[in-house]
């Protein structure tokens, strides 16, 4: 490949530093090269994949997220590192191939550092069971409307152990503080996915005694779990778990509050308590 790719000197518009130019090659050569790579890939799974790259046979592997099957072969559909999840003997017989969007794998460095460095990408779509952080935009009698800020990494969500979750929080702290700032509220809402927390999905116990006003206030940041894709406008979230609920909130006085119990948060300055459906802090 190196004889066909070459780095050239600075392109006309100084914007780009690293240049990659491939001389127009005859199609036969291109074809040959493709076939060549395809053959080598049949034996081993590549570590990095680009869309359209063949990863392996569907007979050997199961296709996970970020891949698609065509003609009994698994192809990558996004660019990213290829991850091979080993077969679980009791549930599935084949190892699962997936291509991840997260551009830092935990294996490469310590998770916290990886999260801190990689720039957050928002283009993961909320799916059923994914954990999201959302800001409350409206509280009504029967439901609260929220706007989804970020979808947390689906791989870390199910086994949310302490360190990882903490690093999650570190990473998104900047997003949250900017989102929790009332000045930033109105502008970006159209660009975010909207969701609804219904009264019956707020908590698991005493469902009929829920008063929405005492659970959420506009501006709160809520950790929720996606229940359903919902109707054409809104997703449905639930907070009916101990680890779900309000994670950040400002008091009436405008100070950031800290949680004191599963249903109360307190203003450190005034000392006044306010009622919330609080997520279990770590």
């Amino acid at each position: 490949m190196s004889n066909k790719c070459q780095c050239v000197d600075k392109p006309p518009n100084g914007l780009i530093v690293l240049a990659l130019i491939i001389r127009g090659e005859k199609s036969e050569e291109a074809l040959k090269r493709r076939n060549g790579t395809a053959n080598t890939m049949a034996t081993s799974v590549p570590s990095l994949a680009i869309p359209g790259q063949r990863l392996g046979s569907a007979n050997t592997y199961a296709a996970g997220p970020g891949t698609h099957i065509q003609q009994t072969n698994i192809f990558a559909s996004i660019a990213g590192p290829v991850i091979l999840d080993p077969a679980q003997p009791n549930t599935q017989s084949k190892a699962t191939l997936r291509v991840t969007r997260i551009l830092s794998t935990a294996a490469q460095s310590s998770p916290a550092a990886a999260f801190a460095k990689s720039k957050p990408r928002y283009n993961t779509l909320p799916a059923v069971d994914s954990i999201v952080l959302a800001r409350v935009t409206r509280v009504q009698k029967r439901q609260a409307a929220v706007s989804i800020l970020v979808v947390l990494d689906e791989t870390s969500a199910p086994n949310a152990d302490l360190t990882k979750a903490a690093s999650d929080n570190d990473n998104i702290a900047s997003i949250l503080t900017s989102a929790a700032n009332p000045e930033n509220h109105s502008s970006t809402d159209e660009l975010r996915f909207q969701a609804i927390i219904r009264k019956e999905d707020v908590r698991a116990v005493e469902k009929d005694r829920v008063v929405m006003e005492d659970m959420f206030r506009v501006g709160d940041i809520v950790r929720g779990c996606v229940l359903s894709l919902g109707d054409q406008t809104s997703y449905y979230l639930t907070t009916a778990r101990n680890d779900l609920g309000v994670v950040m909130a400002r008091s009436e006085a405008g100070n950031m509050m800290f949680p004191v119990s599963w249903k109360e948060m307190r203003d450190p300055v005034t000392g006044a308590g306010e009622q919330r459906k609080v997520a279990r802090p770590y």
Partner: protein, 392 residues
């Protein structure tokens, strides 16, 4: 925004249920003999009623209607316009030796210019700058003005192009009056109701018919003088020369004819013409193919191909029974066996609709074009049929 989305994807995506789509697709992809919902054969067009020369205020006009009530009217108007001087005309007038510039065949003064033909399409429910009318008019115009691209080499000489049988230079050459003047052709297409199917075939056939009936007044001036014309409509000349004894000989192929654009879809291994909206909705590929008669070889030649975005990509998928949450524990949990669809290369459970994805193989395109072009094929029959429409 939603309007634009609809417009660009072949037609307003009809809301069909996955079960309907699957039924249609399977019926249409039956090997050898597709079953179309209305019983037509794959190459059969819907019958249409046609008449031409219906608008006295135009140089040529036509109306075509389908049995479902959709109608199109096309009016062609010709106006005289001054040709903007270009370099070689300047050169010849300054140097006074225009004779030796025989190699100027590319100049607008001799071979005409595509912008002299203007086309506008009005479709109810669409703004004139929506994607669909723009796309349709570009599609039809490009085959019209490009119809004889290589005619320039031998047709460059004469300024008039007045009615010679072969019509050198094609439509563009025909519009040249002299070096300083030309005809400008306005083709205005009007669809009278909201389209029930992708309106391309209807519009193209109507335009073809209108152009066939278009007459230009007879030129009385000569050479490079400012043009003036005979006001006798009887002696006006057809834009596309017609012969009174067309039926007599098989020489119809000598005449340059306006192009027709046919809509062809492929479903599975079948190739289907003049698809209805439902048929387009399940098509693997939709092509608009423009053809005209090749005056030299006597057969048809290809003028343009455009892919049209098949709406099947935007459809709602079906849920196989095995994955349907509402059917858990119902009928025996039969494992659905996925079968490889040869047309798409995807594994599919029979009877379960999946939105199409991916493109079309080259062999399929070649096959579709061949069906249009082949001798005695659909293209020729359509052209013959249109030729047969009475023009008084």
């Amino acid at each position: 925004m939603s309007n634009q989305r609809q417009a660009s994807s072949a037609s307003q995506t009809p809301h069909l249920s996955p079960a309907e789509l699957s039924y249609l697709y399977t019926s249409l992809s039956l090997p050898k003999s597709p079953i179309r919902p209305d019983g037509r054969s794959p190459t059969q067009f819907r019958p249409l009623t046609a008449e031409s020369n219906i608008l006295p205020g135009t140089n040529g006009s036509a109306r075509i209607g389908f049995a479902d009530g959709t109608q199109a009217i096309v009016g062609v108007k010709a106006e005289v316009e001054k040709t903007v001087l270009s370099t070689d005309t300047l050169a010849s007038s300054e140097g006074g030796e225009g004779e030796d510039s025989t190699s100027t065949s590319n100049s607008a003064a001799a071979s005409g210019h595509g912008s002299w033909v203007q086309m506008s399409i009005e479709i109810p429910g669409f703004r004139d700058d929506d994607a669909l009318p723009v796309f349709l008019s570009e599609m039809m115009r490009e085959s019209l003005v490009g119809s004889v691209a290589d005619g320039g080499s031998d047709g460059g000489g004469d300024g008039g192009g007045d009615g010679d049988v072969t019509m050198a230079g094609g439509l563009k050459g025909r519009l040249v009056i002299n070096k300083r003047w030309h005809w400008r052709l306005y083709i205005d297409v009007l669809l009278l109701s909201q389209p029930l199917s992708y309106p391309l075939p209807l519009l193209s056939l109507t335009t073809h018919l209108a152009l066939l009936s278009t007459k230009l007044p007879k030129l009385k001036s000569q050479g490079e003088e400012d043009p003036f014309f005979d006001d006798d409509w009887e002696v006006a000349e057809y834009l596309y020369p017609r012969s009174s004894n067309l039926k007599a000989a098989g020489n119809a192929s000598q005449y340059v004819r306006p192009p027709v654009t046919l809509l062809v879809v492929s479903v599975g291994e079948n190739i289907i013409f003049d698809p209805s909206r439902e048929e387009i909705a399940v098509a693997d590929a939709v092509l608009a193919i423009s053809v005209t008669r090749d005056t030299e070889a006597g057969n048809l030649k290809l003028l343009s191909i455009r892919t049209v975005d098949p709406p099947s990509r935007l459809t709602q998928p079906a849920v196989p029974n095995s994955e349907n949450v509402n059917m858990l524990g119902a009928t025996a949990p039969t494992e659905d066996i996925a079968v490889l669809n040869p047309a798409t290369g995807e594994e599919e459970v029979p009877g379960v609709w999946r939105p199409r994805r991916g493109g079309v193989k080259r062999s399929v395109i070649a096959n579709m074009v061949k069906t249009v072009l082949k001798k005695g094929g659909v293209g020729e029959e359509v052209l013959e049929g249109l030729e047969g429409v009475e023009v008084e």
